[in-house]
Amino acid sequence: MKRSVAFLAAIALLAACGGGDGGATTTTEELAETTTTVPAETTTSEAAAPETTDAPAEALVLYSGRNEDFVEPVIEAFTAETGIEVETRYAGTGELATTILAEGGDTPADVFWAQDPAFIGGIAKEGLLTELPADLTDLVDERFQDAAGQWVGITGRSRVFVYNTDLVSEDELPETVWDLVEPEWSGRFGVAPTNGSFVAFVTGMLLAEGEDRTREWLEGIAANDPVIFEGNGPIVDAVVAGDLDGGLVNHYYLLQRIAELGEVPAANHFFGDGDPGSMVMATGAGILASSDQQDAAAELIRYLLSAESQEHFLGLYEYPMIDEAGTPEGQPPLSELAVFDISLTDTADTLEPALTLISESGLN
């Protein structure tokens, strides 16, 4: 009896900790050995632990709300240049922000690079970010960084109305985002209400036009039968394919598609001056206060703001944040753009109200 207990305890122990060895590659043949002889079990479990998937302690952990295909080349170049290994967790900006907030001081993240100002503002407001070195904040226009210097813009993007040029004539185009609540646009346009960029845009609208107007707009949109998407890319693809007339997105998706596919029957429409529908937003990066690799983290952000990286982002049609880098091909320069006049640092205070408004409007 005692021996059977020991045997079962061994099995249970394996059951409890056998997986701890991470990417252990245990094949069925190995399993065959393990179940026939007791000693084989323990040896297999120990031997089959060739690689640990946990990031080695020295790797810098980046939470990236930006797409993998967009970020990875820059990260590889950073590692090649500095020798600092980076583990990147790719997910939506909102998911990562929620995750960081849930993780609190235990977050494994060293750097958070958000797709938009609203969510990183929310994280900063919770006191989870630390103040950046002055040489970083000095690089970037004040309109595109946190007032307390806790995060800086890495690139800028403009909100636009993308439309299919075969399905929508130019005189039909909405002059402001308010036109989209009108019956003639019913069911013809796409939005991605849970996407960070949309949330940030609503945040901006809330700051500029107040709660009542924003609620009115959101409810008007929700009632106008919009096509709901998870992200901007699919909206642009649907518009390009002619499955959808138009959509509220960021400017660069279409430019990337044109680069990929050549001429497409779609164009970006910028709303009139001061319209929240065309606000320019920064993608922001900050360092987690709990990070024990502050220097390496700052090094990464410094690299993202280097001429080399900014050039790379420019090639992907985003607005660089350092002056000398230039303007995306075919786009109006940042200075000429109808930049939505908000102090981006205030977005933190309007994030939760904006999220609640979106939720209550029934858009998500």
């Binding site: 079962l8 997910a91 907030l101």
Partner: protein, 538 residues
């Protein structure tokens, strides 16, 4: 049959064991440890509902809950009925008629199980709309194209096509076990054909149908990828929207807890409605005569089977291949998915082994020491199995953060979650195997002087081996396809095939998504073919 998605009915098949008696305390301790992962997230999520119920639901109104409940329920009911009809029809046609190539057809209608519903949804998107494969094909012959597949009908079609195989798998053995003498007696006593079906055939099929339907219903309740890609609002999509669209995690937890309640009610209802129905494991005295189909009926049957195979298997594979080839020829850059493949295979392999190891003591407890307490242990494992993976993932995420931070974002936590979610798949296999071994051979071994350990090692485990392997294959297959919990719990940088498909397809990078999806399907087909499809008609 043993490798089939676990038939819940089989729990009633076991004969009472003669060695029923008090289990050793250590065995109990191990059993309890094995069900902790299953119990923890359920308890935590239910608690978060209770807590929110008395304080704050974070902007989620009763109206919103009802709306989600309705849209989810409509989909669950529609898909469950559709799969019940489709699965029973394919099972009947491939077992009781004289169609040619019945085995081949049976395998073909089982194979859609290797296509996760989110991959199916991706293929549906890639085939419809102005840039879709079917649209291009239709336009080439002068017909109008297909509109983009989205909303209720698309979600209904996707979940039906990629789930009906569960019903097929459970119905085939049930139909084969049916005793033709009963039907003949009914007919002989003057019962009409339809009445015989209603009063004799269907009641015999009932346990299998109920189990299959429950399996499908729970799957639909928990599906996240397909409804998200096809844009149909259900509970899981709302949970994810809350998770990503808010800073606070509470609303997502609250909705998850609510979904847990719904899932538990479903499981309870199925058990109630099955009652004491006994899925008798006896073999019929002789096989049922095969029905000769007339030529019209035969054509109809071939047409039916082919259209299912085309819709659920040929079209999605063709679409994925087409997007891959087209993307590559247009010069799309596709990242290698080899690292993802290695991660997927190794994590699924480890999860399968650990799950089987955890299932062995539980199987011994529940089979050799059956009783009220062991039944409780077993129902806990089943409860976790029935939960939506997104909810389980959120539960584990928060539990780890609050109580065991070192576990957070480790492969270990991911594997614990897999074990919690898929334990019944291995457990059922092990239980059936143990039940078939019987106790006399073990008693003989003990009588000849072997200890309990030696008996287990030399007699029981070797005999149990095929059942354990079948259970492991099933867990492997399921873990390979699992998406939402993996998405939430994976360590940073630990992108699996499922995660890669998801991130590429949510941005509609069709080429990249298709490459990863084809690899996933190919790898999943191996365990499925050898352990499920091949054995089904033996």
């Amino acid at each position: 049959m043993t490798a089939v998605a676990p038939p819940r009915g089989t729990r009633t098949e076991r004969k009472p064991s003669p060695t029923r008696g008090r289990a050793p305390l250590a065995l109990w301790a191990i059993g309890l440890v094995a069900v902790v992962p299953a119990f923890a997230p359920i308890a935590y999520l239910l608690w978060s509902v209770v807590r929110a119920g008395v304080t704050d639901t974070s902007g989620i109104t009763v109206g919103r809950l009802l709306e989600l409940l309705t849209s989810t329920a409509i989909l669950v009911v529609a898909v469950t009925i559709t799969t019940a009809v489709l699965g029973t029809a394919t099972a009947w046609l491939t077992t009781r008629t004289d169609l040619r190539g019945r085995r081949m057809w049976s395998t073909l209608v089982t194979l859609p199980l290797v296509i996760p519903s989110y991959v199916g949804a991706l293929a549906m998107l890639g085939t419809s709309g102005n840039s879709g494969l079917m649209t291009e094909a239709l336009r080439a012959i002068g017909l109008p194209g297909l509109p983009v597949f989205s909303g209720f009908w698309a979600a209904w079609a996707a979940l039906s096509l990629w789930n009906f195989s569960y019903v097929h798998l459970l119905s085939v053995p049930a139909i084969r076990r049916m005793d033709p003498a009963l039907e003949e007696a009914a007919r002989g006593l003057g019962s009409s054909r339809w009445r015989t079906v209603r009063t004799v055939v269907l009641p015999q099929l009932r346990p299998a149908l109920l189990s299959g339907s429950l399996l499908v219903a729970l799957y639909v309740l928990s599906d996240f990828g397909a409804v998200s890609l096809l844009r149909y609002e259900t509970f899981t999509r709302a949970i994810y929207a809350q998770f990503r669209g808010r800073l606070d995690i509470t609303p997502a937890l609250f909705l998850s807890g609510f979904l847990v309640v719904v899932a538990l009610i479903l499981v309870w209802a199925e058990q109630k409605s099955r009652g004491r129905a006994n899925l008798a494991a006896r073999r019929p005295t002789r096989p049922a005569p095969t029905l000769r189909l007339r030529s019209a009926a035969r054509l109809l049957a071939y047409g039916f089977l082919s259209s299912i195979v085309v819709g659920a298997l040929v079209l999605p594979m063709l679409t994925l291949t087409w997007w891959t080839v087209r993307g590559l020829s247009l010069g799309s850059t596709v990242n290698s998915v080899v690292p993802e493949l290695i991660r997927s295979v190794s994590v699924s392999g480890v999860a399968a082994v650990v799950t089987v190891l955890a299932a062995i003591p539980l199987a011994i407890l529940t089979v050799r020491h059956a009783g009220r307490p062991t039944r409780l242990l077993e129902s806990i494992t089943w409860s976790a199995y029935s939960l939506p993976h997104l909810a389980v993932g959120l539960g584990f995420l928060v539990l780890a953060l609050r109580f065991v931070p070192p576990l957070y974002q480790t492969v270990l936590l991911l594997i614990i979650a897999y074990v919690a979610m898929f334990l019944p798949q291995a457990l059922t296999s092990a239980q059936i195997g143990l039940g078939q071994i019987g106790t006399s051979i073990e008693e003989a071994s003990r009588g000849l002087g072997s200890g309990a350990l030696a008996t287990l090692r030399r007699v029981t485990l070797p005999l149990l081996w095929p059942s354990l392997l079948a259970g492991a294959a099933l867990v492997f297959l399921t873990v390979m396809k699992e998406l939402p919990a993996t998405l939430l719990l994976r360590p940073t940088g630990f992108e699996t095939l499922a995660v890669r498909i998801w991130s590429a397809s949510s941005e509609l990078f069709y080429t990249q998504a298709s490459v990863a999806a084809l690899v996933l399907v190919a790898v999943s087909a191996v365990p499925l073919y050898f352990l499920v499809a091949r054995d089904l008609h033996d």
